[in-house]
Symmetry: C2
Subunit: 389 residues, 2 copies
């Protein structure tokens, strides 16, 4: 049934293609180099994959020159692992070193590859964060003057958002892990089990089904629908009439899935079944309609129109987003995001409806956008609300 | 045997004490307000606990005024959960909103509580990161001028690093989860099992033993010792003579443990046993010697001297660090960190030795520093290298 799991990692050619695409965008934007500090950008350009990012102690830097291959300026503890990637220019310091935590090494390297008249691109925009101490950033902007730091959000996002076929295979494999975990729902969710136990077991089953780790699970449960979907699970027990939603960002070889499933506990009232059907129909509508050239805000409008036409009240907030090497990537399906959707983007379709004040249902699928339209990466949810008896 | 698990969350008095301590430090530093953006600082001051931070899409802000209670300026999706904490002043916007992603709401709120002559403290130093788009930060520094943004790393770190008794109980409970998972090592590690399977099962067992989630696992395995300790597990199998190290940052109610255990597979050579003994003795030495008033660098020296006196070569890098609401906290046991160690700090003791070039063994325990010395939070490792037959 399922495809074999893709081989670990990527061939150097995959990274070379990524760097060439970045360098083309850099040339267009006039950046002499890119400075990358986030785990996602560094994994994307080098293949450096570790859970060590969980420790905030040390900054990590990767520089993309205008031509040639990336340079890693990293704590010595990462030299061995970085040495196993395609990166050959690896410069290290013994971090953490309070007086100079890699800063002079970083400055020297940037000065080497960026002329004094040049600019250094750094992601500074929406959905980006600078993963280094702010005071150190301020210092290098002074040290490296007259070189200027400029926003490179577009350069990075327009590159990363188009996934290669091998990336798409990775995300499909991660989605398959979650598919299998959801298929085993009866093993771990039933009337009388506590939310905390169900959330814990859901993670256990994701691991059993092949996740390397489980970076995110969320969910909600309540009579006929749920409110908040970002709280940790409590000790209350599932009761008949609850709608249980489980959502996961499991990780396989550095790539995330991000979709949810809804289940009724023992029985479902008509309003919950109707909401499920409305969300299912709205998702079918977008699956059939969405094409490259639509904008992010168009997807929001498609969902809102389909739900409203069915007499439902669309949920607030965004109704889907990008997906890949982080749990969520840009763009956001809101009325305000005008990002153009292009073939090769991996996206979540995530409509929600408000059944009653504070009572919601949210439905989510993962897709890749192709020239002809949507291709599912998650196995489509059941057409009717499943009832766990 | 083990203590019952502490109740979830904290009473409002715990947070009030934290805020009073922060405000005392703020007054001393002359900050009119603190701006907090990281999950750890926001959890610490409000109790807002969610895995939703995994999504980089939205910034979150908490302001600590010079007097009074914190103000949350957050995406609307978090209003429900924040409303369950002790925070009452919660201001929201419908994020993500590209043109103004909470920025005017944040500016207005800061302008309300900080006089034009005042300063806004923001952690900018070592081991801190600004979790908001850099371009937005630059904008508010201009909007809010002549108010100045200044470094508040000390204010936050000197407060957070002293744990309350209820925090210490939480960390002890998380350590107990890992203790139980390590005690079951024979269930999931043996000759012939792949590294990937062992790492995956270790996480599964941590969940079974009560972890809410597993934010970090790492490890290594190799003949007589291991090299790199930050790589993901590969498909190679454990073989006789391997030393297997597993390290975990499991999470219970928002608090981490961070310690490792070493195991020999089927048999152990003398060098591996000797390294284990040396690390065990060095740890005993620090457990017996460390007192409030020592500096972080003194701990490094204690380890280095004990290991060197035993004829061992101390590993490079830091030999321990703080622990709490993130996997690692400051200070760092390096020769360069002069942070004073005080009663109430929760710390990891993490000596390593280099057995041969590129072959290491690392040993780790978690402690709380008391007026009289170290109190273990992890159950002390076995006195001799355990052999899994």
């Amino acid at each position: 049934m399922s495809e074999p799991m893709p081989a670990r990692g990527f061939p150097p050619a995959e990274f070379q293609t990524r760097i060439t695409r970045l360098q083309t965008a850099m040339a267009h934007a006039g950046h002499s180099a890119l400075l990358l500090t986030s785990s996602a950008d560094i994994f994307y350009t080098t293949g450096f994959l570790t859970r060590f990012w969980e420790s905030p102690a040390r900054p990590w830097f990767v520089l993309i020159p205008a031509t040639g291959t990336p340079i890693a300026v990293i704590p010595a503890i990462g030299a061995d692992l970085m040495g196993k990637t395609w990166i050959t220019d690896i410069r290290t310091w013994d971090a953490p070193f309070p007086e100079d935590d890699g800063l002079s090494l970083l400055s020297d390297t940037l000065a080497e590859i960026v002329p004094e008249t040049g600019t250094i691109g750094l992601p500074m925009g929406l959905e980006t964060q600078l993963r280094m101490p702010l005071a150190d950033y301020t210092k290098i902007t002074q040290t490296l003057a007259p070189r200027r730091f400029v926003d490179a959000t577009d350069t990075v996002q327009r590159t990363r958002e188009i996934k290669s076929e091998v990336e798409i295979r990775k995300i499909r494999a991660t989605c398959a892990v979650a598919d299998r975990a959801f298929a085993r729902i009866s093993d771990y969710a039933a009337e009388g089990r506590s939310h905390a136990q169900v959330f814990r077991d859901f993670q256990r089953v994701l691991l059993e089904e092949g996740a390397d780790w489980v970076s995110y699970t969320a969910g909600g449960a309540g009579q006929g629908g749920y409110g908040d979907v970002i709280s940790p699970a409590g000790d209350q027990k599932l009761i008949a009439g609850d709608i249980l939603m489980l959502d996961t960002g499991a990780v396989l070889d550095g790539y995330f899935c991000d979709f949810d499933r809804n289940f009724a506990i023992t029985r479902a009232d008509d309003a919950a079944k109707r909401a499920y059907d409305q969300l299912y129909q709205a998702t079918d509508h977008v699956l059939a309609t969405l094409r490259p050239g639509h904008r992010a805000c168009d997807v929001h409008a498609m969902f809102a129109q389909s739900l409203t036409a069915q007499g439902a009240t669309p949920g607030a907030g965004r109704l889907g987003h990008g997906l890949g090497v982080t749990l969520t990537e840009w763009p956001s399906f809101t009325p305000h995001d005008t990002t153009e959707l292009r073939a090769g983007m991996v996206l979540t379709l995530e409509p929600g409806v408000e059944i009653a004040p504070g009572r919601f249902q949210v439905h989510e699928e993962n897709i890749v956008l192709r020239a002809h339209g949507c291709e599912l990466l998650s196995t489509r949810a059941p057409a009717a609300l499943p009832i766990l008896r």
